[in-house]
Amino acid sequence: MHSDVFDRYHETESFIHRLDPRVKVAVTVAFILSNALLPDGTWLAFGFAWLFLLFINALSNLGIGFTFKRSFVALPFALVAITVLFSIPGKALTTFHFLFWDLTITDMGLLRFLSILVRSWLSVQMAILLVAVARFPDIVHALEHLRVPTILTTIIAFLYRYLFVLVDEVFRLLRAREARSAAEAGARSGGSVVWRARVAGNMAGQLFLRSYERSDRVYNAMLARGYTGHLLTINPHELHRVDYVTTALAFFVILLLQLIGWL
């Protein structure tokens, strides 16, 4: 029916699941910030940060290896930082020959490179956990509470709501394209890149018009229920004592991480 790839939420009973979404968003941001603040090479602090992450994984009843399994998604981007290995002065570790020049990896270069990777790796896992333990509409509510302008959160909410509808339409367009993308034996099929891009462009144009006209109908539906231009939202969440206590504890741990890193 729908593409479930967009459903990142894992429906489970757990302490973490029950917390107010604001707590989860705040702790995620604080954790990522903490990683960014830790200096290069503070392996002890990074290690404890990872333990903290594993602990929350377990507390969410998702299995201790939940985020680990999914954490390599941003790895290709590491290529961008690879020059750091060779460009930071320090003690030479090893030299090797690549095409027509010599590259020397230094200890400082390696330290920095690995630190970048570890920070990124830890942060992305917390972000993965966030959407697994908080439903996306709740995350949007949390953003509203954290003073993100309503117009933006509303657009995001609409995006999420209509994404599935539009993706279904895209699938139908893609399937129609598939059905007409035959290949005859012996002949080279596929058309030129330009032609393929044009087909894609036509599909995009078609999708645009359908979306535009849909937005008109949605506007009418909003009018029919009393919308006069000023959007109101309702937030079914309330903060309880457990939320405050958990947030305080989490922030305390993160502060501890910073101390370990800087001392």
Partner: protein, 236 residues
């Protein structure tokens, strides 16, 4: 019997000049359940969009004691609950709760009252457990019922439905029919489903080419084979 809806000599043409309504007049009394039938292009949807002021043609539309005008649109829209054909257009919030709460929230009701209205509207459509569900996870039949709930939460006086049974499988259709039968509210329903008309609606209005060509007891209209054929309808 009190008049809940009074439409007087309504005319409307679209921007491209096409005359969609050519002098439509009729009345609805409190508690009446009326079917609106006719071929595609007859002007049924256009007429419905006039009933809550989304479209504004020449003529009068009076809801209760209010004649629809620019300054009383919010009040009118709380009285006339319009449910569109495509539930994906009607359900625009991420969760069911937010969609059903939208109406009462924009009426200015306080949070507690809004929550209470959501509960009772969901109960009225027999979907109390769906409060926290995500809209895009629902089946077509479920979406259609939630769509009805989104206007019921405003406690309207009239329910106007555009093709409610279109696209439903037999079971979902049966659930919908039972629901419509039980709701004690004035109703105007546009549909191609003649069996639905026969089962639920004592009165039928037939529209064709922007005009009302028949308005009377369903039994009589469905027995008039010539009338049905002239306007592209079939006996159930």
């Amino acid at each position: 019997m009190t008049n809940v809806l009074h439409v007087q000599d309504l005319h409307y043409s679209y921007h491209d000049g096409h005359m969609a309504l050519r002098g439509v007049s009729f009345e609805l009394c409190e508690g009446e359940k009326v079917a609106l039938v006719g071929p595609n292009g007859a002007g049924k949807s256009t007429l419905m969009l006039h009933l809550n002021g989304i479209l504004n043609g020449q003529g009068d539309v009076t809801v209760g004691d209010k004649r629809i005008a620019r300054d009383n649109l919010p009040a009118v829209r709380a009285m006339v609950g319009l449910v569109f054909q495509n539930p994906d257009d009607q359900l625009f919030s991420p969760t069911v709760f937010e969609d059903v709460a939208f109406g009462p929230l924009h009426m200015g009701l306080p949070k507690d009252e809004v929550t209470a209205r959501v509960e009772s509207a969901l109960q009225a459509v027999r979907m109390s457990g769906f409060r926290d569900r995500l809209s895009h996870h629902l089946s077509v039949g479920e979406k259609k019922r939630i769509a009805i709930a989104t206007v019921l939460s405003m406690n309207p006086q009239i329910l106007v439905l555009d093709e409610p049974s279109a696209g439903l499988d037999p079971r979902a259709r049966r659930t919908l029919i039972n629901l419509l039968r039980e709701l004690p509210i004035t109703m105007l329903v546009s549909t191609h489903d003649m069996k639905l008309v026969e089962e639920l609606f004592p009165r039928t209005i037939v529209m064709d080419e922007g005009m009302i060509v028949a308005d009377g007891k369903t039994k009589e209209i469905l027995a008039d084979a010539k009338l049905l054929e002239a306007h592209g309808l079939e006996k159930p």
